[in-house]
């Protein structure tokens, strides 16, 4: 992730994200302020006021309405972006799940900040973890350059016909949002060409094809709709990797769902998300200089979680230390739980199943299949037509 210093500007992470938004020039941007993401929306608002961004800036009256308006605009046929943090994400959490299940390709910057209480405006990842089960894609940036680059890539990922999901570009509150670093943006034309035209398969405002969106589903269909949604996010890392290759041609900077740093021959590996990876890289360099066999696994795509790639990269490592910038009181911290599941997945003693969504009954025969090792991961989902 090198930055060409010759082309670099001194930008905070927030300004870098706003610059990317200006270049993408989305149609609709509903916004509500919350520290520490406000520099993003304020910088963008000034672009709009000066005519440098042409979309509809909608100063809504809460984050819940920001995401509601964003989902509706995206489904209506407009490229839509927004930003939030912490309590704002918590307030809009209801709609974040709906954004994913309605397959609204909204791009949102998340200035990671601790959830109350006590109220705290500084960085941690508890807000991301609150909605980890929502079905949205979450990409974590290590610094301001990454925040810029991931924001440019995000619309292509969100809008890809096999994905069609919201994408959150996560940047640590204050550490990235407010710290000025060298950032080399692409040219306006390069960004426009990269993101292309917005298209959804069933735009609400396409009057020639009347649709009903946001239905009510009974136990006979909820599970199937959810299964389909899961398939979309499962394939998203392959799409992300392809987009990163395309982006590397353009920018000279390489990205992907995760990055191994000096893992060759490592006996101990650190795993983390976000700006701490930058600090960790320096520490790993120092320790390696002293001969310590240590390395770092930096995860960029937290959702979808690149479990197979993690198994491969950590093969041979004796000790894996997972740094969680969020807690799960009474249970395993979120990143740890994901890593543990990824590493244990190969072990014969541990299997995972999902069942009963939307009221779908669990039958004794299903339980028998599970115990016999004959059940599919999604127990009871219809994969064949059921005749009337």
């Amino acid at each position: 992730m090198t930055t060409e210093l010759a082309r670099a500007q001194l930008l905070t992470g927030g300004e870098a994200v706003a610059e990317a938004m200006r270049q993408i020039d989305p149609d609709v941007v509903p916004v509500y302020p919350i520290t520490p993401q406000t520099p993003i929306i304020q910088t963008f608002a000034k672009f709009v006021a000066d005519g440098r961004a042409r979309g509809e800036l909608v100063d809504v009256e809460s984050e819940h309405s920001a995401m509601s308006a964003a989902v509706a605009a995206a489904l209506a046929g407009a490229r839509t972006m927004t930003a939030t943090s912490s309590q704002g994400l918590a307030l809009m959490a209801e709609i974040v799940y709906i954004a994913a299940s309605l397959r609204a390709p909204v791009v949102m910057a998340l200035g990671n900040r601790a959830l109350s209480g006590p109220i705290n405006i500084h960085c941690d990842h508890s807000d991301s973890m609150l909605i980890r089960d929502s079905g949205v894609i979450q990409l974590f940036a290590e610094n301001a350059q990454e925040a810029y680059d991931l924001t440019v890539i995000a619309p292509r990922l969100a809008e890809h016909p096999d994905v069609l999901l919201p994408v959150l570009v996560c940047l640590d509150g204050f550490t990235i949002t407010h710290a000025a670093e060298p950032v080399a943006p692409l040219d306006d034309e390069a960004v426009r060409a990269f993101v292309g035209e917005y298209r959804v398969p069933h735009a609400l405002l396409d009057l020639g094809r009347v649709t009903t969106q946001g239905p009510f589903a009974m136990p006979d269909y909820y599970f199937e709709l959810r299964r389909q949604q899961a398939a979309a996010i499962d394939g998203a890392n392959d799409v992300f990797a392809e987009l990163c290759l395309e982006y590397e041609e353009l920018s000279g900077r390489a990205y992907g769902p995760l990055q191994g740093y000096r893992l060759e021959g490592a006996e101990t590996a650190l795993v983390c998300l976000g700006s701490s990876a930058g600090t960790a890289k320096d520490v790993v360099d120092d320790l390696r200089a002293d001969g310590a066999p240590v390395g770092l696994l930096k995860i960029c795509s937290f959702r979808p979680f690149p479990a197979e790639a993690i198994q491969a990269l950590l093969a041979g490592v004796e000790t894996v230390a997972v740094l969680d910038r969020a807690d799960s009181p009474g249970g395993a911290p979120p990143l740890f739980a994901e890593v543990a599941a990824a590493l244990a997945a190969g072990a014969p003693a541990l299997r995972s199943y999902v069942y009963g969504l939307g009221g779908r009954d669990l039958h004794p025969a299903d339980i028998g299949d599970v115990l016999a090792g004959a059940a599919r991961h999604y127990v009871g989902v219809r994969s064949e037509p059921c005749p009337a």
Partner: protein
């Protein structure tokens, strides 16, 4: 009624395309009575058309043309609002 589709055949996001959707026939909600129209008394006032919660009054242009028993739930509002008594509730053998 169609059977149930597998997850692989559903449009993303639970979108229902109107022209491909099927409507359940709610006429089976009726419990013994159905509306019947005496056209000789009908003055095409169209009030039954407006009041029907199930859009079950059929029109030919702006003239009354019948009742769609596939959807009529037998609420009796058409009979109640008809100013000339042209609609009456009668036994429903269907």
């Amino acid at each position: 009624m169609r059977g149930l589709s597998p997850w692989t055949e559903l449009a993303p996001g639970g979108v229902v395309v109107r022209d491909e959707a099927e409507q359940p026939k709610t006429g089976d909600w009726r419990t013994g009575l159905k509306p019947a129209a005496d056209l000789s008394r009908c003055v095409d006032c169209l009030l039954c058309w407006l009041y029907c919660p199930d859009s079950a009054i059929l029109l030919d242009g702006t003239a009354f043309a019948g009742i769609d028993l596939d959807y009529c739930k037998g609420c009796e509002l058409c009979a109640a609002v008809c100013p000339t008594g042209a609609i009456e509730m009668v036994g429903d053998d269907d």
